[in-house]
Symmetry: C2
Subunit: 397 residues, 2 copies
């Protein structure tokens, strides 16, 4: 069997200026521009292998070893767009194999539990688009490919870049100007780290797609957010990233998370993603910043109760004096720190604890199932790993 | 000792269109008009006796039997205004005793635990103003007196009226047009009932005065609320009350509660009053309305986690089939219903339970400490009860 194959990894990104609301549901065009930080693929990534062969009978997809449907309208849009770009190449150069007419076998795996509610769809669609683009040897730029990823899952467009990424909402009806661009590379501001507190959810939250639609339709405050609040904040946040101004970046990030969740609460019926644990983490972050009289940490929450805490490497000791004290019983620390390093966080806490006047809830860790320690990272990466057996065209395992 | 005495009771009111934000902190002038329902004094009321005598050495206040300071700026404003009005009477009629120059002894008692977090300051200031006005035989209308009550506690102005009350924000800098007016009397729409679920609070919430100031100062969405959302909703809600249109009244009430809490969440640092129990009650109300395909109940939350549920008398069976099922272990039912009546709520639930497809959290009652069953009620009432001994000028007990 003659099988062509390409593999890539793609990162998760966590928005600091939130995407919430579509102006076009089919094309995934947003009601506002957004900004995110791309996270390191050492900790959170999707690995995808795309293969094609004249012998494949149908398009097939395996996610984490299990066959899944490719039938969703969104996935089909992505595949159509990629095949169209390949067709254009083939029309210009008849010596190319006619991949655009062959079926695809795709396998994809996350290195983190999907159950954690860490919006894996962004990494998933970014890896899918990137792996096929690599297989097809498409010459399009990352921004061009981001428009295809966007059709799969809005926020996926931002996972085509590393570092600090903007998704410019665009104005055109066909979405051709709604794309991701780099604000600053990983190397521009490499000190940004993230601690993710995976918070136990009571039950399934409102899915983000239907949640957004409800907010757009029913929230009286939403128009103010998209027309006035976000456009101003977008420029301010871009500037804070370019100037590596963490206090401003942090404040805008926290405010935007709150603003997004406020419009959810203002929806009818209201949507709640933050639970009591989330709120305690928010209060903790403000208390820590106040304690040090310095902006050490910023929180942000997506459409779920998980807290993503951004901080700079140089503030890690200050932050972890509190975080490790409160969450040391939760797994996730050992993979990043030696026992000695961890004991230093405890020592740091012991040094300051007499000056701590705010309430430290010793039960707080009970609402958190896992800590993921990571940092800003690069965009999709080529890899020699392959999830599909080149002899059979089926998943390797 | 020659002692003059007057006593009154005053009600609690629970806003359905929320007051949140001051444009003048000293005069308690609000950033938006608000609407409330006055609750029955059988269940929630303050009783206040005001006495005066040329022999009293100083102004004194006893709250629930304990001496409290009258020194707060707000209380002083109220006393000054009332004495000024009395002085005007005395100047016109020299036969009147010169109460305006004498000291006051005031005693006040609530028939409900202040710990329940049921904003007792509204009833308290309304009763204070009304008792002194009665003692002074002031000819001013309730609306005129409401301006004085407003200076004590903003929402107190609405407790000068029974039934359905608007607090018109006014435009003048001196606050002389910021007053309460009746939208509809108790008899206009007497079927309105309220079930208050007293929710256990984790710890002290942000006090409403400082909370408001923070929202006005920091929330980006707040201006939209006060400039556009509330003015429109105010007219719609007034109309729904005049037309006794419960579905519209209920929807506006729920939306306004959510909008107010959304601006709290949009404050920086964010303010949270709703806890996980509050949110579950919100979801329950929406589920009940959906179940009956009819608007049976409306929720509203003030600056705390307590839920106030408004409903019409004719829907009580429908609502209590669920509420009694979920909260029968919580005290508050026995004082209003016989055992047989309560068993009928259970029977009603048994009838419908097979059709209930939404989740009924059997632990939900654990977050609720007490149920208060009440209804729309009249404004302040004269009473022959007195809390002050006419011989000593001191509290009776």
């Amino acid at each position: 069997m003659s099988i062509y194959s390409a593999s890539t990894t793609a990162p998760v990104n966590i928005a600091t200026l939130k995407y919430w609301g579509k102006r076009d549901k089919v094309l995934n065009l947003p009601t506002n521009s957004s900004i995110s930080v791309t996270l390191s693929q050492e900790d959170l990534r999707t690995l995808t292998t795309a293969t094609t062969s004249p012998d494949f009978a149908k398009d097939q997809l395996w996610l984490n070893g299990k066959e899944e449907s490719l039938a969703s309208e969104r996935t089909q849009h992505c595949l159509q767009d990629l095949r169209q770009l390949r067709r254009e190449l083939e029309e210009k150069d008849s010596s190319l194999p006619t991949f655009s007419q062959w079926k695809l076998h795709i396998a994809s795996e996350n290195n983190f539990p999907t159950a954690a509610g860490l919006a894996s769809s962004a990494a998933g669609f970014a890896a899918l688009i990137k792996a096929i683009a690599k297989l097809y040897e498409l010459p399009q730029s990352e921004s061009e490919l981001s428009k295809i990823a966007r059709k799969g899952s809005g926020s996926a467009c931002r996972s085509l870049f590393g570092g600090y990424v903007a998704w410019e909402m665009g104005k055109l009806e066909d979405g051709s100007d709604s794309k991701a661009v780099e604000i600053g590379s990983l190397n521009h501001w490499p000190e940004m780290k993230a601690a993710i507190l995976v918070v136990s959810a009571d039950k399934k939250d409102t899915p983000s797609t239907s949640g957004m639609q409800l907010t757009v339709k029913t929230s009286d405050l939403f128009q103010e957010r998209i027309n006035n609040v976000v456009p101003k904040r977008f420029e301010q946040m871009k500037k804070s990233i370019l100037e590596k101004d963490f206090p401003t970046f942090a404040e805008l990030t926290m405010k935007d998370s709150n603003s997004f969740h406020a419009t959810c609460l203002d929806s009818y019926p209201p949507i709640f993603y933050l639970n009591d644990t989330s709120k305690k983490v928010i209060k903790l972050c403000h208390a820590i910043n106040e304690f040090y009289n310095e902006t050490v940490v910023a929180y942000t929450f997506d459409a779920g109760p998980n807290a993503v805490l951004y901080y700079l490497e140089q503030s890690e000791d200050k932050l972890f004096a509190f975080l490790y004290h409160l969450f040391q019983n939760v797994s996730g620390w050992e993979s990043k720190f030696t026992k000695e390093q961890l004991s230093q966080f405890n020592a740091k806490f012991d040094e300051i604890k007499d000056d701590v006047s705010f309430y430290l809830d010793s039960e707080l860790h009970q609402g958190v199932t896992r800590v993921i320690l990571t940092r800003v990272g690069p965009g999709p990466q080529d890899t020699d790993l392959s999830l599909i057996d080149s002899a059979t065209g089926l998943p390797s395992n």
